[in-house]
Structures are given as structure tokens and as C-alpha cells.
């Protein structure tokens, strides 16, 4: 079982002095994740709403 | 213009019409993201071409950086001018603009301001990043942004004159370049001069003031030239 490399949370956040390089990358990954997943989900709701509205309108005619 | 409010045209105040013009242009730009992205991408790609052609020697790149950034920004602005009047010309909006009861001078200023916001501001914001990629000295960064802030409106206004002259022509592409590139030279010279002076450590505020003078001249006089040119082109 590999051992945890840092002795405290502060050390983990500090990343051996490289915190200002490592954490922004992981944050950008979070952005990448969100951009890949959130806009399509948001569009889905919008599209479904639009199509449903138009279909109901056509049904009522 | 009076489709954006409910009042009849003659009652609209000038500022509200200018505001409405700017809002309309922003909306159009939002619907055509290409108008924002394409000049910016051209700017970035063209800058990238330089290290690929002249090599990656840090000293050399940093020496040519101010000029490269300024020239490519200038070309990007010039290429973006096509979106200023062409769409309006093709759907007849330009004629409406000329017939509007509001003074054409201010409507043109509003239109050009919106175009500057959409096409030039992203370039200005990205310029320091690209300058850094070309290893430009940090003393040049702020002067670069300032010179572009003052210079790109002038480029847009002068470009507006060129566009107004050629909008009626079917294949005006490079003709526009031939017309306005000579006019761009003073802006280029003073713009790069500011950055170069800052890098060399000499005072650059004098050159910046000259740029500001060009800016003032352009803002006050070019709308006149543009309206004259538009009236010629529309006929």
C-alpha cells in the first residue's frame, strides 16, 4: 500500500514549494471537466423545453 | 433604429439612439461569435508565424517583439473591418442609417465604438500574453497596452473610412489594404515608438501624447469622412 507523501494538509497544499504551478493546473482541469459536462446539460434542458413547447402547441392546434 | 424603442424617431434623444445602436451591434456580435474570434485568432496565429520563421533566439525575438505585436495587431484590425459595414450594406440597413433623422456623425461613432469593443478589445487584452511569448521585456508591457488602447481606435476609424469607400465594390479585399495601410503608418510608428522607448528606459509619455493627439484628430474628423464616403458608396 503506497504511503501518503505529505505529513500535513499544509504540506499537501504547498506541494513541496510548487503549489503555484500544480494547483492552477488541477483547477484548470476542473474547468475542463465543467466545460465538458455543464453546457451540454444546460442545453439539454433548454432544447427539451423548446421542443416540448412546440409539440404541445402543435397538438393543441 | 426606432424599432428598439416605442417612441417615434423624431422624439428619440441622441444618446438613447447611440445607446440603442451599441446594444444592437453587441447583440449582432453575440450572435456571430466569429466577429470576435476570427480577428483574435488571426492575431495569435500570425504572431506564432514569426518564431517559426526567424527562430527562437530569445534576444532576437524580444528585440522584434514590439514591432511584431503591433504589425499583426494592425493587420488583424484591418482584416476585421469587413464586418463593419458589409452586413448592413447587404441588407439595406446602411441606407436606413443614412436616412435617419439623428446626426450621422454620432451614429457612426456609436457603430465604430461597438466594432472596436468587439474586434479590438480582445486583441488588446491578449497582446501582453503574446508579447510574453516573444520574450518582450516586462517594461514594455504596460506601454504596449496603452499604445494599443490609443492606437486601435485610430486604426478602426481610419479603417472605417476605407470601408466606407469600398463597401459598394464587389471585390474590395486587398484594395482596402492598399488604401489605408499608408494612413496607418503614423499610428504604427508612434505605437511601436512608445514601447521601444519604454524598453530602452527613456521617457515615452511624449510619444503617448502624440498618439493621443492622433486619437483626438481621428475621433473628431473621420466620422465626417466616413459619412461623405458612405453617401458616395450608397449611390
Amino acid at each position: 500500500m503506497p504511503e501518503f507523501q505529505f505529513n500535513s494538509l499544509a504540506e499537501l497544499l504547498n506541494m513541496g514549494g510548487y503549489a503555484q504551478y500544480v494547483w492552477p493546473v488541477y483547477l484548470f482541469f476542473l474547468l475542463f471537466f465543467l466545460v465538458t459536462v455543464v453546457p451540454p446539460a444546460y442545453s439539454r434542458r433548454k432544447i427539451v423545453k423548446q421542443i416540448k413547447a412546440r409539440l404541445r402547441r402543435e397538438e393543441n392546434q | 433604429m426606432n424599432t428598439l424603442t416605442n417612441k417615434p424617431a423624431s422624439e428619440l434623444g441622441l444618446l438613447s439612439v447611440m445607446g440603442a445602436t451599441i446594444r444592437r451591434e453587441m447583440l449582432l456580435a453575440f450572435r456571430n461569435p466569429g466577429d470576435v474570434i476570427n480577428p483574435l485568432m488571426f492575431f495569435v496565429i500570425a504572431v506564432t508565424l514569426f518564431p517559426l520563421s526567424v527562430g527562437t533566439d530569445e534576444n532576437f525575438l524580444s528585440a522584434i517583439a514590439p514591432g511584431v505585436i503591433w504589425v499583426t495587431a494592425l493587420l488583424a484590425v484591418m482584416l476585421s473591418m469587413d464586418s463593419l459595414f458589409r452586413a448592413d450594406f447587404e441588407d439595406g440597413n446602411l441606407e436606413q442609417l443614412l436616412m435617419s433623422p439623428q446626426p450621422l456623425y454620432f451614429l457612426l461613432l456609436a457603430k465604430i465604438f461597438s466594432h472596436w469593443l468587439v474586434a479590438c478589445l480582445p486583441i488588446i487584452l491578449l497582446a501582453p500574453v503574446l508579447a510574453s511569448m516573444l520574450f518582450m521585456s516586462p517594461e514594455g508591457m504596460l506601454p504596449l497596452v496603452l499604445s494599443l488602447l490609443l492606437g486601435t481606435p485610430v486604426l478602426t476609424l481610419l479603417g472605417g473610412i476605407g470601408m466606407a469607400l469600398t463597401v459598394g465594390l464587389s471585390r474590395s479585399g486587398l484594395l482596402l489594404a492598399v488604401l489605408i495601410l499608408p494612413l496607418y503608418v503614423p499610428v504604427l510608428v508612434f505605437g511601436t515608438g512608445v514601447v521601444q522607448a519604454a524598453i530602452n528606459g527613456t521617457a515615452f509619455s511624449g510619444l503617448l501624447a502624440l498618439l493621443a493627439a492622433l486619437f483626438t484628430l481621428a475621433v473628431s474628423l473621420s466620422p465626417l469622412a466616413i459619412s461623405a464616403a458612405l453617401k458616395i458608396s450608397i449611390n
Binding site: 503506497p2 504511503e3 501518503f4 507523501q5 505529505f6 499537501l12 506541494m15 513541496g16 514549494g17 510548487y18 504551478y21 500544480v22 492552477p24 493546473v25 488541477y26 484548470f28 482541469f29 475542463f32 471537466f33 466545460v35 465538458t36 459536462v37 451540454p40 446539460a41 442545453s43 439539454r44 434542458r45 432544447i47 427539451v48 421542443i51 416540448k52 412546440r54 409539440l55 404541445r56 397538438e59 | 461569435p33 466569429g34 474570434i37 476570427n38 485568432m41 495569435v44 496565429i45 506564432t48 518564431p51 517559426l52 527562430g55 527562437t56 533566439d57 530569445e58 510574453s132 511569448m133 520574450f135
Partner: protein
């Protein structure tokens, strides 16, 4: 197996299969990414040269893989569209392009940030970064072309042509940039893969994040493709049934069908 691939060519089946696959994909991807990131950040030993900075590779390498993979998938779809006229291929290509572009950005950003302590500068005109930058431009170009052409079918074909042109060009571009780079060798080329005295356990988290990225890629692909399918097929009966029939409350994002 071929029959299954055949089915994917039908928008309705793609949508349905997508919905069935998504829940699994979410859980597996989530697991892989969480394990990979936590392991990479906390458990693998620090590099003897670069200290903890190297932990960036756990994101940089999969991002680079995604960049290449997306483009190959786009090229495959472009060929499918042009040769066999499979419309679904265009939908997938359209869905993948922004994912590929974003992955390239992640690769460039992570590469730059890795580079600051290593090379002393955030940008270096080395072969790999420069090629990736050009690849990013190509992605943006394809996306821009699609939004510039109004007719959907013309846009599809134009993007397909552009993508294939890009596919042929990319090895040429990379070769020329390599050649250019050897001419203008600036700082010593400290490649990210220089793992001289590093134990092999360093690569285990990369295994997890790598597959996690692939899962994420397919999640994005499926979600975006499904959106496009709904838009294009909105007049067809199966869409009407899906959205209106039985007042379907199928959760169309996570794929969990609360009706079934």
C-alpha cells in the same frame, strides 16, 4: 459487433444506447478520476529532480492523448460522412471538436505551468508545445467554419473536408516543427517524459487519470451528440414519444430512465 456499430449510425439508437451507457460511464469515470487524482497528488513519491511539480503530468499526459484522440475521431467521422454519407458521423464530429479544443488548452496550460520552474519561462518554442498550439488553431478553425456556414449539410461536408486536410497536414506540421526546433535549439529540451531514475510506480496514477479522461471524453461526446440528435430529429415520432409520451420524466442528462 458490426451490427452494433451499424446501430450507432441511427440517431435514435445512438440516443437510446447513449442513455443506457451514461450512468455506467459516469460512475466509472468518476471513480477513475478520483482515484487517479488522489493517488497522483498524495501517494506517488516525489520526483527526485522536479519535486512535487511533476504531479502535473497526471493531467498533462491524458490531455495530450485526448487532443490526439479527438482529432482522430473527428477524422474518422469525416471520412464516414464523406464516403458513406452517415449523418450521425457529422453529429459526433461536431460534438467532439470543442472537447478536443479544450483538451488541447489543458495540455498547453499544464505544459506551461510545468515549464515555469523547469525551464524558467512559461512559454518555450519547443517542438511539442508549438505543434500543440498549431493543433489548437486547427480545432478552432474547424469550429469556426461550422458556425460560419449556414446550411447544415454544407457545413458538415466543409468541416469534414477541412478535418481530413488537417489530418494529412498534422504529421507534416509536426515533422517540420521538429526539424525547426532542432535548428533553433534554445534551452536544453527537457521533455516531460524524462523519467531517468524514477520508479515505475509513478505511472500508476496516470493509468487511472488516462482512462478517466477517456471516460470523460465519451461522456461529453454522448451528451453533446444527444443534444444535436434531439435538435435534428425533433420532428420525428420517436422524439415526440420520448419527450411527450407517458409524460416521460426520463432524466435525459444522467441517462437514468425514471420511467423504465
Amino acid at each position: 459487433m458490426w451490427q452494433w456499430l451499424y446501430k450507432l449510425g441511427s440517431p435514435k439508437w445512438f440516443y437510446t444506447i447513449g442513455n443506457r451507457v451514461l450512468p455506467w460511464l459516469w460512475s466509472i469515470t468518476g471513480l477513475l478520476l478520483v482515484v487517479g487524482i488522489i493517488w497522483g497528488l498524495g501517494f506517488s513519491p516525489p520526483d527526485y529532480q522536479m519535486g512535487d511539480n511533476y504531479r502535473i503530468i497526471y493531467l498533462h499526459v491524458p490531455a495530450a492523448g485526448l487532443m490526439k484522440g479527438s482529432f482522430y475521431m473527428m477524422a474518422l467521422c469525416s471520412a464516414a460522412l464523406l464516403i458513406w454519407k452517415i449523418k450521425m458521423a457529422d453529429i459526433v464530429a461536431k460534438a467532439v471538436a470543442p472537447i478536443g479544443a479544450m483538451a488541447t488548452l489543458l495540455m498547453l496550460v499544464s505544459g506551461s505551468l510545468w515549464g515555469i520552474p523547469t525551464w524558467g519561462t512559461w512559454w518555450i518554442w519547443d517542438a511539442r508545445l508549438t505543434s500543440s498550439l498549431l493543433q489548437f488553431f486547427i480545432f478552432v478553425g474547424i469550429i469556426a467554419l461550422r458556425s460560419a456556414i449556414e446550411s447544415r449539410d454544407s457545413a458538415a461536408k466543409a468541416c469534414a473536408v477541412l478535418t481530413l486536410v488537417g489530418l494529412v497536414n498534422i504529421p507534416i506540421i509536426e515533422y517540420s516543427v521538429e526539424w525547426w526546433n532542432t535548428l533553433h535549439q534554445g534551452a536544453s529540451d527537457l521533455s516531460l517524459r524524462d523519467s531517468s531514475a524514477n520508479p515505475p510506480e509513478i505511472w500508476i496514477p496516470a493509468f487511472f487519470t488516462g482512462f478517466g479522461f477517456i471516460g470523460l471524453f465519451f461522456i461529453g461526446l454522448i451528451l453533446r451528440s444527444q443534444n444535436e440528435i434531439l435538435l435534428r430529429e425533433r420532428r420525428s415520432q420517436w422524439v415526440k414519444d420520448l419527450l411527450l409520451g407517458d409524460n416521460a420524466k426520463a432524466d435525459t442528462v444522467s441517462g437514468i430512465d425514471t420511467n423504465a
